[in-house]
Amino acid sequence: MGLFDKLAFSLGLKKREANILVVGLDNAGKSTVLNHFKPEDQRTSDVVPTVGYNVEKFKTKSVGLTAFDMSGQARYRNLWEAYYQDCQGIIFVVDSSERLRLVVAKEELDIMLEHPLIKPRRLPILFLANKMDLRDAISSVKVSAALGLDRLTDKPWHITACNAVTGDGLHEGIDWLSQMIKDAVDKNAQKL
């Protein structure tokens, strides 16, 4: 980080900026989550399955975020790793009503956590147990158990149940993530 940026941050002239990666299986609700963070007038009423990826920008209380909304379809999942290098945080969205594919979600999470660009870093990961409004949905505790999060000890993580359509539970999650990113950015700035 340049001297100017450091100065700008401490004077509050420049907002902290960070990239986050939004991943999860197809149909989990990633694009719907991001759609909710957009200003009211820019939201789309009809979210369609993402092809490849989309980039969305939005601001939170403490940082400005550039979100990479990846497609969760199996044939696009190997695109995720191309963005591992440049991200400061991850949102992992799970459809908590789709019990059949919880194993697949866990598998993809494990593959990601084992990746050399992710494994050594203390990246904050926000898990969203989405679609909690559906009848078949299981609790965030069960989602956490199904994903084996108890074994994830080398990274800060947080799980919250949410409904991406109404936005319930999303703010709690994103506040946690932006706080983590802000702390990390500030710590980095002090080091310099």
Partner: protein, 595 residues
Amino acid sequence: MSSDVLRPEEGGGESVVATGQDSDKWLTAHNDPVAGLNTFSSCMALADLSADGEIKLIIADLGSGTHNMKLKVYKGTQLSSENTLIDMPTGVITFHMDTTEPQLPAVAVASGSYIYIYKNLRPYFKFTLPTLEVNPLEYDAWNQARDDLLDVSLLYEILDSLRHEVGECGLTTRSQRFLMCPDHQSQQNFLDQHKGFLLKRQTVVTAIATLKKSYAEEEAISCLVLGTESANVFILDPEAFTILNSVSLPSVAVFLSVFGLYDVEYRIIVACRNGHVYTLKRGVKVGRPTIELNSQAVGLVRRDKNIFVATMDRNLHCFSNKGKRLWTQQMDSVISCLELIEIKSLNLRLVAVALEDRRVLIFKDKYVVDTIHMEAPVSAMLFGRFGREDNTFILVMKGGGLHIKILRRKARFAADDSSGLGPAAATRLNVPKKTKLFVDQTMRERENSIQMHRVFQHDLYKLRLNTARQYVRALETSSNPVSITQTEPLKLSAQVLGLGPTFKIKVELQNTSASSPSLGLMVVFHADHHVYNVQNSVIQVPMLVPGVAHVVETLVNNVSELGVADTVKVLVVKENSTRPVLTALISMPVADTVS
């Protein structure tokens, strides 16, 4: 019977070796050992029943075999609906029967003599198989029995002999049941109970499949293909439910594998109860015998150009579509079912074989590429898109358990060469495609074979004649280096020495006769004087004693300014004879001119 019917030899094929520990290629998505299912592969189907992109699993549950028969629908891991079935199901398929929006697929359950069609999981239509003509003898026998003109044992005898004549499935169910009654009393009871009713001959469905009608798209309308106990195969129109085509086979269909389009061209491969496999084609009224197995089939799948058949004698056979056997593998255990594993993302088509010893082997061609160990023997398998996952493998256990596996995204199936079959067998020769020219040529050769043979023979005779003529001429002019005249048996060999322009020609003469010496011989060299200047063109030869070689030699100078090479004729002549005894033609080498 056609010539490409193949009878596999007894006990053929290599034995399959069980490899390694459990597979790491699959994730276990769901395991319910007490799901209480009793079903077969033919009674399971996957379809997007509510057209919402989430594929449901449809299972016709046989219950206890007599009670509790249900049509169950699973949404993910949850049982989402149940419909009671009246009779034992023999097959379930899903198909599109119309093009109205939204395109909801219909479910067809084959059960007894009926096909029950469900739309939106509600009963929609019932198709009844056509009644068959009752054998007149059988009809009369029952009529007379009803009017007490025939007593029970006589009826039994008539029906029994009729059974031998027309076969079990040529009789009505009533006669079949009657013949099954063990003793006189039960037969009498049966007769009393049933004689008042009209005798009908109905058949039951034994196998069901779909055949796309005019378009190959996923949502296109399909015909139903039914195999029946009356040894027929019917093709049903999906809209009017009329029989579009009916084919009779020598035996009852057990497994059907269908591909193609009804309106264009199709093939129906039918494995029958007699252990034979037949192929039905568009526009043909009888099945073509394709394969003769030496045991009953327990599973049939088709992959690309191959037919895989598992038989009760623990063998897995692979045949070409024409019925040519490609290979046979013997399993260590009894095979319970087969399933095709089509992985579109890897462009792979594998065959899963469930064994009685709780293993599921996955074959890529003849190689085992994966082994799955289950807690119980598998009774039914289905692979396909389920929920939102493409590569889902659904297994139903003998004990009623439901197990769902999902293929890992990074799983790859490589043939394990260490399984002892060797890579050589796997490498296919890269035979180039036949060109049009090749085909035309072959056609021409096939059509004109007789003419071509005649032309060849004609030319061959001509060649022989020419050769004979030349030989005769050579003899007449003695232009050969070995004289064969009885009077002067001589052998001549010539040699050219030197690089030029001056050469030396050495001629060796030998008397090959047994005892008579040759007298008065001369060697004459003859050459174009523009090219060669021969030093001694005539050399006298002394008396030639039999067996001893005599050498004469002369220098030959190449005088040609162009440096061309020519031939020199060597003649052996006898005094007072007009004809030479021997002639030899020497091709001179090109001279190395020292310029």
